[in-house]
């Protein structure tokens, strides 16, 4: 079982089966790591916001730096109108980041390596952004699909392309994160398997690869969380400041 690089993505029930109607909402290892991530986020940021000292301690500095990092990211990409959505984007970034980072610990489960999780997040963002766009601009939001300065001959084609690209946003957003996580973890597992199968003689090369990949994957874990958050900001920017 351990040789299968995909077995790390298996979801299994922890504890009894819980059913609500026809739906199975049992507590699984995915649920466990979601709870772990959220609890550690809340713990860190609660500790980081408890005391208000003029000279922040380490955990306060961490919380405040993350705060300013995300707030700068939002104001850079979506402007000042996006301020009400700061808490959501902050939670989103932190959640994805912590889930990704928890996945980097051996024998853990990576929540974001499941397409259903990332798709739910992306679909929520997509629907939310679309609703915000229609609330802010009414049917004028549809102008998003009609870029200015395009020759009238090309317009039907462009509009179709724009609509397709808009509709593919949740898919691209979710698949990007999911595929990155899955590919990275699979690759690490495969190289880890090489270490065993090649033994003491040939195992050193895949081992060194594994070490390098771990560093790369930590980078990817951060980067994908960042990309996820910044794409959300960009979509939000389209909805808030309509100028295409």
């Amino acid at each position: 079982m351990a040789a299968n690089p995909m077995s790390q993505f298996d979801v299994y029930r922890i504890g009894p089966e819980i059913k609500v109607g026809a739906f199975d909402i049992s507590f699984t290892n995915a649920s466990l790591f979601m709870i772990l991530s959220t609890v550690s986020i809340l713990l860190i940021f609660n500790l980081g916001s408890k005391k208000n000292s003029l000279l922040p301690n380490k955990i306060q500095l961490l919380a405040e730096l993350s705060y300013t990092f995300v707030s700068k990211m939002i104001s850079d990409t979506a402007g000042s109108k996006a301020k009400p959505y700061f808490a959501f984007i902050f939670s989103l970034f932190m959640f994805v980041l912590f889930c990704n980072m928890f996945g980097m610990i051996p024998y853990t489960f990576t929540v974001t390596s499941h397409i259903i999780v990332t798709f739910v997040l992306a679909a929520f963002i997509f629907i939310g952004v679309t609703v915000i766009g229609f609330i802010k601009h009414g049917f004028g939001y549809l102008k998003l699909f009609v870029p200015s300065g395009v020759p009238a001959v090309l317009l039907p084609l462009i509009v179709v392309i724009e609509i397709i690209s808009y509709l593919s946003r949740p898919i691209s957003l979710s698949v990007r994160l999911f595929a990155n996580m899955m590919a990275g973890h699979t690759m690490m597992k495969v190289f880890g398997g090489f270490v065993i199968s090649l033994g003491i003689v040939g195992g050193w090369l895949p081992l060194s690869f594994s070490v390098a990949l771990t560093g790369l994957e930590i980078l990817v874990a951060f980067l994908q969380a960042y990309v996820f958050a910044i794409l959300t900001c960009i979509y939000l920017n389209d909805a808030l400041n309509l100028h295409h």
Binding site: N4, M6, S7, D10, T28, F86, A87, H114, V117
Partner: protein, 196 residues
Amino acid sequence: MFKKIYFQSIFFSFFFTREAFAAESGGMPQLNPEFWVSQIFWLLLTFGIMYLVLSKLILPKISNNLESRKSQILENIEAAEKQREDSDKKLKEYDEIISKSKLEANSIFNQVREKVLKDISSKREVLDKQIDNEISDAEKEIDTLRKNSAEKINKIAIETSSELLQKLIGAEVNNSSISAIVEDLSKRNGDKYYGN
């Protein structure tokens, strides 16, 4: 060598993984919908709770902290600026006072010096006059004394010599003859005693 091992390992890995896949009869566990509802439910639950706690409790506190720090730093900078201005002003005032008081001290010193010099000169004049007077008085006295002294000495000499003679000889001598002799002697010896 390394290349060979690398390619070999990839080859072997395909071999192994295929075997493993065959054994698991799985593909991607992500596409197995068995726990999708559970994952969605727990995702919404945990993320929702986290979002609520973060947005209602924690993030406002952090932003508050940041704002208060910012404002405190700004206030401190302002206060420092103000104090610097104050100290600059005070330094200027101090300099002014110093230069003013220097001028004043100079003028006072000059006035006092002039006054003192005047006083000294006037007092000196008075003293000079007094001294001159006293000197002239003394000179007059000396002159009178000198004039009188010769006569007195002559008189004393005459009287003493007459008394001497009386005691020595026991005879009464005519005063006039003695005075003639004394005068003669004093004239002769006058040069010796007075130097004139």
